[in-house]
């Protein structure tokens, strides 16, 4: 049972990390568009070199108006799920992440229509829809990339593709926007996040690196 003839496998030490991050896209956009404020913070932890758990949450304050109505939505959301790193451990080395997150989101918000108007045969109609509290649910897939810029400081981005489960309201008063999900009138929504992340290494593990087989050269060199 002793295999003294084989070489010991190469290993690489990979730090597992807890990450605290913020999505800076919302605050940056708020500088140019004061009608929408989105903030999001998250914490995630590596379970191993490939998988991590994710818990995030944020606040959203949304105002929209056009020629025939005004709409307000404000509230909080939480989302939880799993992140999968598709890079090989020896390539990622705890510094790079390229993969996808899968999350479930829960949004608690208040929305209302302070005024809307339209016109038909009987004349102009002005009305409103009182504010109400809603709870919405959605699923999110977030493929992206993150890289360590400085020691324990990471930056990166993700695309956010969301599938609505339930908007919290009936079919007549679907929320136009709800926190965490975005435009609520549609069954899918899309977004982009740009993250600044502080990493806290909490454990180091040794990972065996698969050696690449050297290419066999056939015969003698030809000219």
């Amino acid at each position: 049972m002793v295999s003294g003839q084989t070489e010991p496998p190469d290993t690489v030490e990979i730090p597992l990390k807890i990450r605290l991050g913020a999505d800076v896209t919302g605050p940056l956009l708020y500088l140019t568009d004061r009608t929408t404020l989105n903030t999001e913070l998250f914490i995630s932890a590596d379970l191993n070199t490939k998988t991590g758990i994710f818990l995030g949450g944020g606040f959203s304050d949304y105002k929209y108006s056009q020629y025939n109505y005004e709409y307000l939505s404000r509230g909080f959301y939480v989302k939880a799920g799993v992140d999968f790193n598709l890079l090989r451990p020896e390539m990622a080395r705890g510094k790079y992440w390229a993969g996808a997150g899968l999350r479930y989101g829960l949004s608690l918000f208040n929305s209302g229509v302070p005024s809307f108007e339209f016109e038909n045969y009987w004349g102009p109609v002005s009305s409103s829809v009182p504010s109400s509290d809603y709870i919405g649910h959605y699923l999110e897939a977030a493929p992206g990339f993150k890289a360590e810029m400085f020691k324990n400081f990471t930056m990166g981005w993700s695309l956010n593709i969301r599938k609505l489960i339930f908007s919290g309201a009936g079919k007549d008063l679907r929320p136009i926007y709800f926190p965490g999900y975005g435009i609520g009138g549609e069954s899918m929504s899309y977004g982009i996040s740009y993250y600044l992340v502080w990493n806290i290494p909490y454990k180091k593990i040794n990972v065996i690196v698969k050696k690449e087989e050297p290419e066999e050269s056939e015969g003698s060199e030809t000219r």
Binding site: Y64, Y121, V125, V129, Y194
Partner: protein, 155 residues
Amino acid sequence: MRNHITNILAATIITVVLQLVSCTPESCLEESVARIKVPFYLSSTQRIKAPDSLTIFGLNTGSKKIYNASKNVSRAELPLNPSAENCGFVLRINGTFDTILLVYDSYPHLISRECGYTYYHTLDSLSYTKNIIDTIIIRKRFITTVNEENFRIFY
């Protein structure tokens, strides 16, 4: 250093794209008024047939006509008054007058982000005179912007 540049570039592109998307003007291309859709049927044949002449106007609206001696109208579309719980229409079919009275509930409905809100209705009751109208059959009580038949008028 390369990573720094890549990330800064990505952030810039993302911000610019989001700004462009958020500034795109939106226009409403959908139907935004809920109307009763009423096809006309000839009682004798039970087949759809446009009256030779059709005039319709709302009760107590003066001379503001929805249809004015119109020909080839086999299906009329009548908007309800969202500010009231009932309204009526005067119909002049082939020169003979009839009146329809409707009682209904109205409730707000989001059409879309681009179009905003309108009122949908649920019909409670319907009454009518029978000078030229033979009968009216209610097919669908929910009056929306969807293109579906609500009544059938037999004349």
